[in-house]
């Protein structure tokens, strides 16, 4: 055990800190769930790419920096510290990108990876379908082969970023005789294809973070099939794997929130009660505990160990934490906490974060599903 940062890691931290200080927009961008904000964030992806900071975890051959997990954690700390914009292309960076590198043909890699890095293609994900919330194997949208095309029919829902994105990826049933997780294929679909209708789903904050995608005899070229036909399920499982899950939930995000909460608390301390004090302290403790755990996990992964259902432990932990932190912030803000547009004390962003925090315990497998997994797969309790 040797914890702490090496000289080269410290140097790397300085490098990214300096670049971000120079380049992070001084005025926060509009939400990427608005048309205007979406394009601003696309520009930011381009800017990041110009400094070679857009795909830091990708191998150098694909335009990345090949950062290892620890370096990525440092990158994230600096990114959140600098209050840099959220990543509109998260689906591409962390989910589709690595999947393409592993399962894509050379041609697919060439076509998609650099367009992803520059922000030219922004990706949405198309996993869920109506009636198949947490039960992903119940997919019914079909993609039947006809000549050199797949003809897609059906509906996806909860597709994040789809309101304004360029492409979506997801699982489709390519074998009409199949059921459950057999006979599914992983296909990439341009959202401007004929027969595609995108219906945004306004969420709590009134903005369309998700959308439904309707496919009505949509034709896509067979070259958009990733891996072999019928191999979709195993590819998707790899996509949903632990490391990527981790990257979508950077500990830095929660540490940054905890720091902000501490400042807010100390600023208003004299009027606040013991229950608030207690929650503020808990927030910081747990954000730190989460970060330490992730550093330890990253170390284990780098030492060649595998992580399985343990990732469910983290999902429940951070999502409960995130909700509690935002709830506590609103309780400190008091009567201001309903004022959606107030910038002072970061009121607007606390409110937005609070609304978002309700989704944490739900998306990517509800916390109830996660606890089932923990009980059954980690503790060995019966199904």
């Amino acid at each position: 055990m040797k914890i702490g940062f090496s000289d080269s890691q410290k140097k790397f931290r300085e490098e990214i800190r300096e670049w971000l200080e120079k380049n992070v927009p001084k005025i926060p961008l509009n939400s990427f769930d608005t048309k205007e904000g979406f394009e601003e964030h696309r520009e930011w992806e381009k800017k990041l790419n110009s400094g070679n900071w857009s795909m830091v975890t990708w191998p150098e051959q694909y335009g990345g920096r090949g950062l290892n997990l620890i370096e990525w954690l440092i990158f994230e700390e600096e990114y959140y510290r600098a209050k840099a914009p959220a990543r509109v292309n998260q689906n591409g960076v962390f989910l589709l990108g690595p999947t393409l590198m592993e399962y894509g043909s050379d041609k697919q890699k060439e076509k998609f990876l650099s367009a992803m890095a520059t922000g030219e293609h922004i990706w949405s994900q198309g996993w869920s379908e109506p009636g198949a919330g947490s039960d992903m194997a119940a997919i019914r949208t079909t993609a039947f082969k006809k000549g050199d095309k797949y003809i897609i029919n059906g509906q996806k829902t909860w597709s994040s970023r789809a309101a304004f994105a360029d492409w979506t990826f997801g699982l489709f049933r390519s074998d009409p005789e199949s059921d459950r997780h057999r006979g599914l294929s992983f296909i990439l679909v341009p959202l401007d294809a004929e027969g595609v209708t995108v219906r945004p789903i306004p969420q709590l904050d009134g903005e369309p973070g998700f959308a439904e995608i309707y496919f009505d005899d949509v034709e896509v070229d067979v070259s958009n099939l990733l891996g072999g036909e019928g191999e979709g399920w195993s590819i998707a499982m790899a996509t949903a794997g632990f490391e990527r899950g981790l990257m979508l939930r950077s500990p830095a995000r929660f540490q940054e929130t905890a720091s902000k909460l501490l400042s807010l608390y100390f600023k208003n301390k004299d009027n606040l009660s013991g229950s608030i004090e207690s929650k503020v302290l808990q927030s910081w403790l747990r954000a730190e505990a989460y970060a330490l755990n992730i550093y330890q996990t990253a170390s284990k992964l780098m030492a060649g160990k595998k992580i399985g259902p343990e990732s469910s432990l983290g999902k429940v932990f951070w999502s409960d934490l995130d909700h509690q932190m935002h709830q506590t912030a609103l309780d400190i803000l008091g009567v201001s906490s309903e004022l959606e547009e107030v910038v002072a004390d970061d009121v607007a962003s606390w409110i937005k974060g609070y609304m978002f925090s309700y989704s944490g315990p739900i998306y990517a497998g509800t916390n109830e599903i996660q606890k089932n997994i923990i009980a059954e797969r980690l503790l060995g309790m019966p199904r």
Binding site: G133, D135, F210, S273, L330, V335, E338, E341, N367
Partner: protein, 344 residues
């Protein structure tokens, strides 16, 4: 000791409930949002005709002269249906001011119109444009303004049913009708009443939120059965039901203490509000969770009620203020069992 409601109280409440059921639907609330005009003047008129707005106003001012316990039942239903119009505020704030102060009663000649009341615990003016007068409660003074002469800045609430205006009263007497001094005890009384009012709204909201979640879990299927048959879902809603149940008696006791000028009325009100805050928080969180991703959408009605909870938790006494108040009270006079602390 009779801690039940009279038949009359229940009949009045139930009749009002029937009115709300058909006249304050989620669709109508949403249409008020879309028109950017949540205050429906016609509905306000109806509330007046039903006697709701004057339910607790003294008979000498044309009111029904009912007690605040009865009002509490009405306001709970206003919460349950998320009534956008500020009838709860009219009853618990401005009617109370009129009842308690002949000076104020004299100045308010339009008692059925909405009178907005502000105070540092609820500093933003509610429905300024729909109000005829505005009463600003200071530390120990009370000022009455003509609403039309106030020129504030519109604020956007996360609850689109709440039309708010920001105005700095200091050093401005534009529209000022009169200022009354030495009003500390009346101000205190209204603040206490505001605590009870907001608690009643929260309890009504909580009941509705739980009803929505229960209905959803019966309807929604996952892995081949209604999600309401999963023990985890059952338990999260059962826990929510428990929190609501154990907030109610505390609320009614507080309203009763207001009616009877119990010396501990402020303590009782603070208890009621705190219980209601905690209940609404847990009910909202668990009901949202029971809804899965659907709860997170604008399309489901759930958020209409949850949003309202966010606001009412904070106005007229929030968590920290109430907790600090209660702890100070208890330290000054440690409660003893069997004495007169819980009831007189």
């Amino acid at each position: 000791m009779n801690f039940t409601f009279s038949e009359d109280q229940e009949i009045f409440r139930d009749a009002f409930k029937r009115y709300l059921e058909s006249n304050v639907t989620p669709e109508k609330i949403r249409s008020g949002w879309e028109d950017n005009n949540p205050f429906n003047q016609a509905r306000w008129q109806e509330l007046e005709e039903l006697g709701i707005l004057q339910s607790n106003l003294d008979e000498k001012y044309g009111g029904l002269g009912l007690d605040l316990v009865t009002s509490c039942l009405l306001v709970e239903e206003m919460g349950y249906y998320a009534l956008p119009e500020p009838a709860a505020e009219q009853i618990f704030l401005s009617n109370l001011l009129i009842n308690k102060s002949a000076d104020i009663a004299k100045l308010i000649d339009d008692k059925n119109q909405f009178i907005s009341v502000t105070h540092s615990l609820s500093p933003n003016i509610l429905f300024l444009e729909n109000s005829s007068k505005l009463i600003n409660l200071g530390e120990d003074s009370i000022s009455i303004f003509f609403s039309k002469d106030i020129n504030g800045k519109k604020l956007k609430s996360s609850d689109p049913s709440r039309d708010l205006t920001n105005f700095i009263f200091e050093n401005s007497d534009s529209g000022l009708l009169q200022t009354l001094n030495d009003q500390k005890s009346l101000v205190n009384n209204v603040v206490t009443s505001g605590m009870v009012m907001s608690a009643a709204v929260l309890i009504g909201l909580s009941r509705k939120i739980l009803d929505l979640a229960t209905a959803y879990t019966l309807d929604r299927k996952q892995f081949g059965k209604p999600i309401g048959s999963f023990q985890a879902v059952k338990h999260m809603l059962a826990q929510a039901a428990i929190e609501i149940e154990f907030s109610k008696a505390t609320l009614y006791r507080a309203a009763y203490s207001l009616d009877n000028e119990n010396p501990l009325q402020k303590l009782h009100a603070a208890q009621a509000k705190l219980q209601a805050i905690d209940a609404c928080e847990m009910v909202s969180r668990n009901s949202m969770q029971a809804h899965g991703a659907m709860g997170y959408t604008w399309e489901m009605d759930l958020h209409i009620f949850i949003r309202r909870g966010w606001s009412y938790k904070q106005v007229w006494g929030n968590k920290s203020l109430l907790e600090n108040y209660i702890m100070n009270q208890l330290e000054k006079d440690l409660p003893k069992l069997g004495s007169t602390y819980t009831f007189l």
